[in-house]
Subunit: 111 residues, 2 copies
């Protein structure tokens, strides 16, 4: 068993620090999938992109706009987002503070 | 893409309603793994048990005691818990209100 608080995990800074990524267990240690926590600063966004693996997302704090082929949806704490393999997607922080979400991928999706 | 708030998902009542389980996407729909949200009423606990698949857990609210072979640890919002395959584990709510955590399993572990 391994137990860590998010604050004990050194974040990776992406997009000039606008996006922080914390990986709880490495893909080398994980048998199947990897859980990550992303934190977006206000107005930050992830790129609009797609890849062959799925995402399962749970929003922990803040307010985000989720963009996909078919439009946009606002999500907050308690929302779950399933992104299918190869589906275009983007997360935009529309909150006045940081927004955070858990994002789980199969281990081949953790790069 | 599928987006749902946890409150839109009818919970399964386990252990006489002391434990609520919300499954965001069924194992038939999920390519690799399944994300679930468990909510334990005050003093409720999951059984001390083990199984051949791993857990990746993120605590969303409350305060829980995590029991394993080697002892006990208290976790709160922001804690991550990795349970290895075949490792004994139990979650006990030690908060005065409900405690909730995300628990992800490979899809063969969602029964």
């Amino acid at each position: 068993m391994m137990i860590k608080h998010m604050n004990e995990i050194e974040p990776q800074e992406l997009l000039n620090g606008e996006v922080l990524k914390r990986v709880f267990i490495s893909k080398d240690e994980a048998p199947t999938f990897v859980m990550r926590l992303f934190t977006l600063q206000s107005n930050a966004s992830t790129p609009l992109h797609s890849h062959p693996w799925e995402h399962e997302v749970f929003v922990v704090e803040g307010r985000l706009k989720v963009v996909c082929d078919n439009g946009e949806t606002i999500v907050e704490k308690g929302h779950f987002v399933y992104v299918s393999p190869n589906e275009l997607h983007q997360f935009v922080n529309v909150f006045e503070g940081p927004s955070s979400f858990i994002c789980v991928v199969p281990k081949e999706g953790e790069v």
